[in-house]
């Protein structure tokens, strides 16, 4: 028996290319549907848990799905509303309001403006460094810190080209205050800043040097950026918030009118949720309230329908491939007539020849199976990250 396998092994080893092609075909056919379902299920799990943890969302009227994807996964950018919507929710006494402002990307990672309540709500803890404390600071999700290779104390410039340059925006150098513990949620990918810092990036808040004691203008990218507005008023504006200049930072206008992209509403109980939703029924024009879970259900149903279609296709492809492999095997038998005859001449019975061939087949299946297992384990391990990456980008 061992000799059979030894001989089969040597044979397969001798015809490396052929073996490799067969193993790859077999593995792929077996693994594709399973991997697809892994990813679909993981996507389903992530989206549902996130949506279930986010009872109600308030945002600009328009695509409810965009709103949900923006607020939950920092994905699709939805049109902005103003902070007053959060205050309105709080004022009802039915729910707590968590404003969220996700509009920009920094080196591919979403830049998300939140209030500190967001961290409590999502259970985000600082693993290294400190929580946000001062204007101009950011904390990084674990994956974002890894991708950007940043640690507490480093700085991270917001690239000017990614900003709407309507109001004379300029790059702001963010200081990394801390890195969050990994949560295996989209929060891992995010760069979190305080809403107020987000508004500074938007040019709504800024600090400027007193005109009488202008510091020397530095030539570097983070000296002063000049805001070209009215010809009479050109005050150089700070592009980095430091302990020395923080007191000069101020905001223009009423915070109620400052932009946010959505409000996560956390109703105190079921009745409050119903009452709150009722408020937005007649609001007609600009604001909508959505239930992320309902919203995503439609999306997920569609994804699973596509998944089922894929399964059907893969079954057909699998069948065809099996047939082709059978044919290859049959043909190879014919090619190997000479070799088989030699075996017979050496004294092997018909049974012995069949056993050798069977051993080859078993080895091929075993190697493909092993490869499948290794690949599946890898996919299982990285499914979360793959899905998160796909969801966010």
């Amino acid at each position: 028996m061992r000799n059979d396998f030894y001989l089969a092994w040597r044979y397969l080893g001798f015809h490396k290319t052929r073996t490799l092609i067969i193993v790859t075909c077999l593995s792929l056919i077996a693994i594709l549907p399973v991997a697809l379902h892994f990813l679909l299920n993981e996507g389903n799990r992530q989206m549902t848990t996130r949506a279930a943890a986010t009872p109600l969302l308030i945002g600009a009227r328009g695509s409810a799905l965009d709103l949900t994807l923006n607020a939950l996964f920092f994905g699709a950018v939805s049109p902005s509303i103003t902070l007053v919507e959060a205050d309105k929710v709080t004022a009802t006494g039915w729910a707590d309001a968590l404003p969220i402002y996700s509009r920009l990307r920094v080196l591919g990672q979403p830049l998300v403006g939140v209030t500190l309540d967001y961290f409590d709500y999502r259970g985000l803890r600082v693993a290294q460094g400190q929580m946000l404390a001062m204007l101009g600071e950011c904390v990084l999700g674990a994956a974002a810190a890894e991708a950007l290779k940043l640690k507490p104390g480093d700085s991270l410039p917001t690239p000017p080209e990614s900003l709407f340059d309507l109001a004379g925006n300029y790059p702001l150098k963010l200081r990394v205050a801390g890195v969050l513990a990994r949560t295996h949620t989209p929060d891992d990918q995010a760069i979190f800043i305080d809403l107020q810092t987000a508004w500074v990036i938007d040019g709504i808040g800024h600090g400027h040097a007193e005109q009488k004691n202008l510091p020397e203008r530095s030539a570097g990218p983070f000296g002063f950026a000049e805001i070209n507005r009215a010809a009479d008023g050109k005050l150089p504006t700070y592009t980095e918030i430091t302990a020395d200049n923080i007191d000069s930072f101020h905001f223009h206008g009423d915070p109620g009118g400052f932009p946010i992209s959505a409000v996560i509403a956390l109703p105190h109980d079921r009745k409050s949720a119903t009452l709150l939703r009722g408020r937005y029924v007649d609001q007609g024009e600009k604001i909508q309230i959505v239930q992320p879970q309902e919203n995503l259900r439609g999306l997920l149903d569609n994804i699973f329908r596509v998944g089922a279609l894929f399964d059907g296709l893969l079954a057909v492809v699998g069948g065809v491939t099996s047939l082709a492999l059978g044919l290859v095997f049959a043909l190879s038998l014919r090619l190997r007539q000479g070799e088989i005859r030699t075996n017979t001449l050496l004294g092997c019975g018909r049974l012995m020849v069949a056993r050798l061939l069977a051993a080859e087949l078993v080895l091929l299946l075993l190697v493909s199976g092993g490869l499948c297992l290794v690949l599946l384990e890898a996919i299982r391990r990285y499914a979360g990250d793959i899905v998160r990456y796909a969801l966010i980008s």
Binding site: D96, A133, M134, I227, K234, D247, F249
Partner: protein
């Protein structure tokens, strides 16, 4: 995990040493942690919450809370509070430069936003998307109108109740006691205002806007400090003011230095202390300081 272990060992300690329930509650630190931004709010919180709250005023003694800036350490402590009671009306100039949980904040004066007094003659400059604008300020000594102080106490009480709804009855009872005390002061001041109607008064610092409005005081303010001799130009300006506004009293946040008081006396202006009590007094409490203020004002010529 650390917390659980801490609680367990605290419980064990209480058990073996036969501590009362009260002491156990203290060990568990079951008190509601309330941060406040000035002393009047601290006093209100202490009155409303009693032993059920631990009130912290993070401003060091001797420093005016209106000009205090929190350092990162103070911010981190405030972030861990259960409630952050703010005076509002632009009192906390540092608020939009720090990160604090919004859901824990109570702006105690937001309820009477429409009654804020705007400070005129603010500096105008031009930059940013808004074009020309002025950074007009808001007068922030809101509590010197004691009716407003009562409203601030109420807003604070509602904030405390939101965090400990099970103690609502206790807090509301404490609130009504406090509001009754504030009402007494308010009534006395209204009476005093009636008596001093149209009598010109000087303020040493522009912090008495709400006081003057509520109690009908005919007040004009300079911008002096009790322990800094004003420059000559200020004295000239004062003489001019006195021609149109013949005041015989200047009210001060604290006792002015003897030299300033004497120089004022030469001009027929006596000095009286009307302490806004923004910082915790060395003796007494908010009520006794306000009573002293009323007495000081009553005894002015």
């Amino acid at each position: 995990m650390k917390l659980v272990r801490g609680l367990l060992s605290a419980a064990w300690l209480a058990l073996i040493s036969g501590f009362s329930c009260e002491a156990l509650a203290d060990l568990e630190d079951g008190k509601l942690k309330v941060f406040v931004s000035n002393y009047p709010l601290a006093y209100f919180a202490e009155r409303i919450g009693g032993h059920r709250v631990a009130v912290s005023l993070p401003v060091p003694a001797g420093e005016d809370p209106a000009f205090w800036r929190p350092d990162p350490e103070a911010i981190s402590r405030m972030q861990k509070a259960d409630l952050i009671a703010l005076n509002g009306a632009d009192y906390e100039k540092w608020l939009n430069r720090v990160s604090l949980p919004r859901l824990k904040q109570v702006d105690t004066s937001a309820g009477f936003k429409a009654a804020y007094i705007r400070i005129e003659n603010a500096v105008t400059h031009s930059h940013g998307p808004g074009g020309e604008h002025s950074h007009d300020g808001i007068a922030f000594t809101t509590w010197l109108d004691l009716a407003q102080a009562g409203k601030q106490a109420e807003a604070l009480a509602l904030g405390v109740i939101r965090k400990r709804p099970e103690l609502k009855a206790v807090f509301l009872e404490n609130l009504s006691g406090l509001q009754a005390d504030l009402k007494v002061l308010d009534d006395e001041l209204l009476k005093l205002g009636e008596a001093k109607k149209n009598q010109p008064l000087l303020g040493s610092h522009p912090v008495y806007q709400y006081l003057a409005r509520r109690y009908g005081l005919n007040l004009k303010s300079v911008h002096w400090e009790p322990n800094e001799m004003p420059p000559a130009a200020e004295w000239v300006a004062l003489d001019e003011t006195l021609i149109r506004h013949p005041a015989r009293t200047m009210i001060w946040e604290a006792q002015p230095s003897p030299e300033i008081a004497a120089r004022l006396k030469e001009k027929g202006v006596s000095s009286a202390v009307l302490d806004p009590c923004a910082q915790r007094p060395e003796q007494g409490d908010f009520l006794s300081v306000m009573q002293a203020n009323i007495a000081n004002l009553e005894s002015t010529p």
